[in-house]
Amino acid sequence: MENHQTPTANPHHSAHPVEHQSHRAEYITIFLILTFLTGVEVFVPDVYSAVWSGHTKMLLLCILAFVKAGLVFMYFMHMKNEAKWVRWIGYTPIYMGMAVIIIMLETSYR
């Protein structure tokens, strides 16, 4: 997995053609999942008013958003293959996300 980070002195295109093909397949899979989840997100507000309560809608949309953001973070931004200490730099803004969750919890149970 790490090999593509350090291409060899091979003058020809693609030092690791097979690996890059598997990367392409992975990227397209993530893209399709993101597109599908976006479709679900747009659909949620229409259905919830009839079937679900407001809290369920809020919870569902938050889970969908964080799953999507996590997929972009791990796969498109390559954090899955990055050293742990680099990943921790990227994790720091999650603190602000926790603040948002506290606001929503307090609002829900006021």
Binding site: P7, H20, F76, M96
Partner: protein, 216 residues
């Protein structure tokens, strides 16, 4: 570690790097970009936090979907996801030293970002026309919480500026790619990877903004 430093200090010929388990695990450019992204994420977090506090403490707040409309923004969201895909393909092309593919995928990414900005400009024009201003807000002739417009423009405007700077940044890299700067092998693809990190971050933030500002 101390033995290595001692060897260097003894002055027996070559200077040695101190042993650092993290050395070489990520380039300086990548660490710098990630630190920038982390602090930029904090800025967005601060804006969303302020929005959350203002909205949850408001007497009345309109349902965003009714005022803003979701359809066009969903298309814009899809566009950003598409441009993220073309961006990772551009990085692969640079690593494969395929200049033609690199220039093509960067071009697609820039087009996606520029179209997103166009959609946002169109959306702003219509919202202002329909009464949602930065200072005062109304919907269908009835006034709504003024902070609705303020928070909307503050958050989406800050994000739009990121898309704009991303498009400019991408255009600079696009020019370099045309000259073959990033397809020389070795780590020459690195600037493409860095602009990619920034671009994916802009996409990631929009995913959250779309949920908190438009859908919830």
């Amino acid at each position: 570690m101390s033995s290595t430093l001692q060897t260097a200090a003894d002055g027996h010929g070559e200077t040695l790097e101190p042993e650092d388990v993290n050395f070489g695990k990520a380039t300086g450019g990548k660490v710098a970009m990630w630190m920038f992204i982390a602090q930029d994420g904090m800025s967005f977090g601060g804006l969303l936090f302020a929005y959350g506090v203002l909205r949850s403490s408001a007497q009345e707040w309109p349902i965003p979907a009714e005022v803003l409309g979701i359809g066009l923004t969903a298309v814009a969201t899809f566009l950003l996801i598409c441009s993220s895909l073309s961006m990772v393909f551009a990085v692969l092309a640079a690593q494969e030293r395929n200049q033609a593919a690199l220039v093509r995928w960067l071009g697609v990414t820039i087009a996606g970002g520029a179209t997103f900005l166009g959609i946002q400009a169109y959306e702003y024009y219509h919202l202002v026309h329909n009464g949602v201003g930065f200072i005062t807000s109304s919907h269908n002739g009835e006034s709504i919480n003024n902070l609705f417009g303020t928070t909307f423009y503050a958050v989406t405007g800050f994000h739009g500026l990121h898309v704009l700077s991303g498009v400019i940044y991408l255009t600079i890299i696009f020019r370099g790619a045309q000259k073959g700067k990033y397809t020389q092998g070795g780590t020459s693809y690195s600037p493409v990877e860095l602009v990619g990190l920034f671009w994916h971050f802009v996409d990631l933030v929009w995913i959250l903004v779309f949920t908190f500002i438009y859908l919830l």
